[in-house]
Amino acid sequence: MVGAFEFAPAIAALPFVSFLVALFVGRFMPKKGALAGITATGGSLLLSLWVYLAVLTSGDPHVEIVHTLIGVTDPFSLELGILIDQLSALMLLIVSLISFLVFVFSLGYMNDEGETGLPRYYAGLSLFSFSMLAFVMASNLFMAFMFFELVGLCSYLLIGFWFRADAPPSAAKKAFLVTRFGDYFFLIGVVGVLGTFGTAAFAGDGSFPVLAEQALAGEAAGINTFGFDPQTWFTILGLLVLGGVMGKSAQFPLHTWLPDAMEGPTPVSALIHAATMVAAGVYLVARMYGFYALSPTALAIIAFVGGFTALFAATMGVVKREIKQVLAYSTISQYGYMMLALGVGGYVAGVFHLTTHAMFKALLFLGAGAVIVAMHHNEDMWKMGGLKERLPVTYYTFLAGSLALAGIIPFAGFWSKDEVLFEALLRGMDNPIFLVAYAMGLIGVFFTGLYTFRMVFLTFHGEPRTTIAEDPHHFGWNMKFPMVVLGVLATVVGLINMTPVAELTGAHIEFLHIWFEHGGETLTVEHYGALLEQWAGYGAVDASTALVLGSGAVSLLLALAGAGAAHVLYNVPDPDEHTDKLGSIKTVLFNNYYQDEYQVWLAEGLTANVARGADTFDQGIIDGAVNGVSSVSLFLGDRARRLQTGVVTNYAALLTLGLVVLLVAVGILGGWFV
């Protein structure tokens, strides 16, 4: 089909152009590169919308190889390609929308605040959007890995934007190293996939999920599983790739970089948390879901890591003092829910939560950014209070985002989180062990409600607790506009997939389910369902209407309970810090369960010692052998050269001696003297 797909590469290329423009001529431009970025991401947004509509009308995935890096077919070829299907079209739309709004918001947050180094900022932001859009479009795992790394690099550049202070460069380094630790496994996974299947393509008959399925069915030849049982080997590969996912999506235990990443400018945090970096991990699992569906072990690990992270991060969010820290832990927790959904076989639920979360989390971060600007860059919630009357636009949009995050009907987060938990419950009824993951997710809902509304009440309600909060700084339309757009979306985007309502009325309004039922035959949700049933033993469970409604009601009640607790504790004119009542638990929570400490201990106490030992071995044994050989030859050479006296007579004597010896030897051997 001629049309939208022809322009698909431009979706990623436009931000790249704006990256170059901002980098090289940004300083001569009126808004220091912001306008280039806004134009480019705006263009990407329109093109994404066009591509989305094209997918909607044609329904078929679009696969195209743009550039071949290494063209040999044996053992494998490396290509840059484009895969536009239902999933990537949706994700492109989300990423370009959030990027566009973040650019607009940055006009207010960065330009109007008189920050310096803006061309660098906008170049980084553009490159970030470019990397993520290209990652989303990637047609194979190898290309996905390349852009996955590029996303990590951009996060490093942007988190460390204020590099003259102490904390941001250190946070940037930490983000880079921790995600790199995960990416290391991802890299091995990519090599493993290429080595096993000879292809890394996501879609099509020759793609690796399809080959893996055929190998399990015993139909495919030429799959090298390195002596393992195919299922075991595919689990190992899946878990290796999962390492990268856990690093980027900040899942336990690689989540420690994310709260520190708050050192970056707030619009960057919005981009990282909603649309780019952190979303990349979960997106990757969804992208190769046909592969994960073959391995029940990998799925169970995904589900439990997700469920645990969801609860674990939520409890830490409850005690934080800074508004952005609360949001950081909520991000970790929410991505835990997505992983939980994907792990229990709820492909649509996971992607649905990814979509709604992108909207409300971007909104919350932009709202937090607005509050921070209003508070003259003071992030401590205990210094705020009473901002409701003074910043009404921010308050109402932020409230919409908070209601969505807490999962209060009918805001976006309710529908998606309810579906995640419902899928987990279904799986738990089939296999009781998943009830544990479900329970963790369910308890997390209570804490989500608690920390979300603690944040809202402390920031916006009560009496102003400082003079800055009494007279906050005002900001312009360029910060209000993105918040309003996202506020509307956070309210209504859940309506695309109202499963409980659909169940109750029988109307086919689960648009997201319907959306994912179309597309390439190996990329549809039915296909994934069949794979899950056949290979992972995820049998279909009949969901009665009562169960659907009951599950929704339980999660809603828990969210309301959390919000209610926050209301009782913090929605008073002059709230107290109730965290002291927690006693020693407070210390543990404030120290984030000592996650940083034990990881630093692992690095300094264990890895550093091993590295030191290896260094000694290298310097002493390996280098020692090499150096020893050289000193021995130097010594021998020094002795041997004494033979060269420079006196001709000596040479002649040696010659003669040699001749005589030769003669005698030949004579003895030849028997002359017998």
Partner: protein, 100 residues
């Protein structure tokens, strides 16, 4: 006719005298002369075998050797001149600066 063995003994004697000169003397000019002796020892051999075998190949070959020896002396004397210019001496044991 004198038997070939006598010529060979003469040749060996001349060669050994030349070798003795090279091994014991320090004067470069004496060196040249000694080398000349050794070459001519070879020539004696060539001529002796030529006579014994009854063809002229060895004698012709010895003519070439004499010509080569002449050229070699020219080069050798040139080297000795340079040696003298640089060391004010023709003693071969003083010119040891080209070693390590």
């Amino acid at each position: 006719m004198v038997p070939s063995q006598y010529y060979l003994v003469l040749s060996a004697a001349v060669f050994c005298i030349g070798l003795f000169g090279i091994l014991t003397r320090r004067n470069a000019l004496v060196f040249l002369m000694s080398v000349e002796l050794m070459l001519n020892a070879a020539n004696i051999n060539l001529v002796a075998f030529s006579v014994q075998n009854g063809n002229l190949t060895g004698q012709v070959f010895s003519l070439f050797t004499i010509a080569t020896a002449a050229a070699e002396v020219a080069v050798g004397i040139g080297i000795i001149l340079v040696l003298y210019r640089n060391f004010n001496d023709v003693d071969v044991t003083t010119a040891t600066t080209m070693r390590w």
